[in-house]
Amino acid sequence: MSVRLRVWAGLGCFTRPEMKVERASYDVITPSAARGVIEAIYWKPEIRWVVTRIHVLKPIRFTSLRRNEVASKIPATTAASAMKAGKGRLGTYVEEDRQQRAATILRDVDYVIEAHFQILSGEDNPAKHLDQFNRRAREGRCWSRPFLGCREFPASFALVEEGEALPAVPDELKVERDLGFMLHDIDFNDGMTPRFFRAVLRDGVIDVPPFDSEEVRR
């Protein structure tokens, strides 16, 4: 019940948590970002997407840029007290609250994401979900525009049909590269704790261990 989706874009930023402020990207897409891409096309509360494999189709290249962002969030408490009082200032003025942040990001990225889904509730009819996903991906439909790490980096996508061959892996990726510990996903059931796994790129492919497996550190 596995699906394969090709995603590509000019830019992508899969921010390393330790360099989250002055962003620096991981070398490749993280499983949680890949899950986000898939979910943008088809998801409902009855299913859970599990990313199993990531194919890297273009050499890993970086570039850097600076963006204007803001320094603070509007505190929830301000909103709550404004609701109580029936008045109050909720705005934040970006010109007064500027923070320039630099980012070292990926450019020319192209991946194939392999994923399958688990049925959590409802009718046990995987073919229905699979069909829906494939149909939607084939037609280029999505709930929200899939993006690569940041909303500013929208991704194009295409379904890789069953049996269809994948493009060749670039020569420089035809090695084994240890990418170090990489974010797998956030454990939302356990205080939003990030979980990491050892990502190894073998001939352009990263095998993603299941979230509850031994290989994912907790």
């Binding site: 390393r16 330790e18 360099m19 290249r61 923070q99 510990f181 939003m192 704790t193």
Partner: protein
């Protein structure tokens, strides 16, 4: 740790470097719980706690021709840095505000409070360390010290506010260097951690469970950053925090990992001989193998100010070393020039942004890979007419992209260095900038010609020769040659006495819009030809002109940027050719 494969992430690579330092008996590296700090003075005590003396411990070093005084770097109990306005005394060392109750901030009551905090911290160790003579003397000194007496200390004007350590008269080593004091300090740090259970979790660097660092030690030595240090991992504003996590818990890194990577990075950045500036970035090169030390210094030399150094002999030696290295790399016998070509090699470029540091670039490979890229870059730059024998260092090339060094856009400098180091295409903006400079001042010198050539080869996949190629198939190149010839005739006809030549007026437009300029220039040329004195000159010049014009089908209305580059190279080559003495069998041109 696997020695063969380079670490992929920045933090693991820095930690690998920390382990290299640990294994090196010659390197002093701080253990967890200690740090290396800049100390300016020492307070010398009698065993009964009375003051014996106050001495400057700064060292004189030779910086170029000048001698300067620098503070001494001493391993001291780690204070963990200060943030905010709270009182936080350090153990056995501190600035004079805490240690002596007087500083330069002009707030004596605050200084008195600081001194009290410093005294209380040391008193809390009193019973534990009663049998340590040095520490006991320090406690007695703190009991009896009057902050007001500080102003009478020798050299106080200069040393007020700076860091001091304590020493017992007649004893080797400082008070904090006693094994007993060190052990007590570590015990205290450990029990503090226990008494105040911090968040533990999985460190994203090592994958091991550890106490998580809430704040990371700060990093100093990055040009343009906060002088007290800045951080790579820092969450200093709430917009940066996610999932309700505070500060560095957003990025779980163990305290030991955080200590190791910051110690290693501070060590790299503190070393003048391996820190270079490119644009607004401070760049360091390192390997986690000791054997690659020679490669580290070659790379640093290549990216640093290769010119404008004060010691010509040393400069010459550096240039020779770099050249030997590049030659070896080009001839694929790198092993002759350096010890360990297969060692992992890292390049880190950091640039400041507010109180944070941004990783401008982070490149991983082996010495061998980086050497090959440098060699390719230098080979593509190869151009006739080099004035001196210096290789074209990066900074020299960047200078050509702006009117003054301070005008070089930092982003451009960074991207250019990244392109050289990663062997990828150069930033297009740099090509545009160079063409703009040539248009602005109508000058094309060796570095400019070299960089245009490298661009045309690497970014536009064009073939560009090193020296004059009369048969070059591209019209833009021949147009450049034509322009050089027309200019030369004008010079000869007027004995070089003109204030404004056709180059000053038409260089840029001839490159960009040949059709609107060349017909007029050719007309002018007839006029100049008549003024040439020697018959021989006229005939030779006429022949040359005929040869060039024969290769040009038409004057294009407009030339795109890369053709303009080729035009300038054609011009430069032809001009070089005019001034190169001819050999006996090449008599169709006159010598100057």
């Amino acid at each position: 740790m696997n020695q063969a494969a380079p670490a992929s992430g920045l933090l693991p690579a820095l930690i690998a470097y920390y382990h290299r330092l640990e294994a090196d008996p010659n390197a002093v590296v701080a253990d967890f719980g200690f740090s290396i700090e800049k100390i300016h003075a020492q307070v010398v005590l009698e065993p009964d706690g009375s003051l014996f003396g106050f001495e400057d411990v700064r060292e004189e070093v030779q910086r170029g021709k000048k001698k300067t005084t620098v503070p001494r770097s001493i391993l001291v109990p780690d204070g963990g840095g200060r943030a905010g306005t709270g009182m936080k005394p350090f153990f056995c060392w501190d600035n004079t505000g805490y240690a002596l109750g007087r500083d330069t901030k002009g707030n004596p009551s605050r200084a008195a409070e600081m001194f009290a905090a410093f005294r209380d911290l040391h008193h809390s160790f009193r019973d534990e360390l009663s049998d340590d003579v040095g520490f006991a003397a320090l406690c007695r000194f703190l009991d009896g010290w009057e902050p007001a007496r500080a102003a009478a200390l020798p050299n106080w004007e200069e040393l007020a506010g700076l860091n001091v350590v304590f020493r017992l008269r007649g004893r080797a080593g400082y008070v904090h260097q006693s094994e007993k004091v060190k052990a007590a300090w570590l015990r205290r740090s450990a029990s503090d951690a226990e008494a105040d259970p911090r968040l533990t979790g999985l460190s994203l660097v090592s994958g091991e469970r550890d106490e998580l660092a809430r704040l990371h030690p700060s990093i100093s030595g990055v040009a343009g950053a906060n002088t007290t240090g800045a951080a790579i991992v820092s969450f200093n504003l709430n917009a940066f925090e996610s999932y309700g996590k505070s500060q560095s818990y957003n990025a779980p890194v163990g305290v030991r990992d955080a200590f190791r990577y910051t110690t290693a990075l501070n060590r790299l950045l503190a070393d003048d001989s391996r820190r270079v500036r490119i644009g607004d970035a401070t760049v360091v090169f390192w390997s986690d193998r000791e054997t690659a030390a020679d490669a580290e210094s070659v790379f640093t030399a290549f990216f640093a100010d290769g010119f404008n150094v004060e010691d010509p002999a040393e400069h010459k030696a550096t240039v020779e070393r770099v050249e030997g290295f590049l030659k070896a790399a080009q001839q694929v016998r790198l092993g002759d020039a350096i010890t360990d070509p297969e060692a992992p090699f890292y390049v880190l470029g950091l640039s400041p942004n507010a109180s944070r540091l941004n990783v401008r670039y982070w490149l991983v490979g082996t010495v061998h890979q980086f050497a090959e890229r440098l060699a390719t870059h230098v080979k593509q730059l190869d151009m006739i007419g080099a004035r001196q024998n210096d290789p074209l260092f990066i900074r020299r090339l960047l200078l050509e992209s702006a009117r003054e060094p301070k005008d070089i856009p930092p982003q451009l400098a960074g991207e250019f260095a990244r392109a050289v180091l990663s062997g990828l295409r150069y930033p297009q903006a740099m090509f545009g900038a160079i063409i703009r400079r040539i248009r602005a001042d109508a000058r094309i010198n060796h570095p400019r010609a070299a960089i245009l050539k490298a661009f045309l080869i690497r970014n536009f996949d064009l073939e560009v020769p090193v020296a004059l190629d009369k048969n070059h198939p591209d019209e833009a190149y021949q147009l450049g040659r034509l322009f050089a010839t027309l200019e030369k005739t004008q010079e000869d006809a007027t004995d070089g006495k003109l204030n404004t030549t056709i180059k000053d007026r038409f260089f840029g437009s001839a490159a960009a819009t040949p059709a609107s300029v060349f017909p007029r220039l050719l007309q002018l040329h007839h006029h100049h030809m008549r003024n040439l004195e020697h018959e021989g000159h006229r005939i030779a010049r006429g022949k040359l002109l005929g040869e060039i014009v024969g290769r040009i089908a038409s004057f294009p209305r407009h030339q795109p940027l890369e053709r303009q580059g080729l035009f300038y190279i054609g011009y430069y080559h032809q001009r070089q050719d005019f001034f190169t003495p001819k050999s006996a069998n090449d008599k169709d041109m006159t010598n100057e």
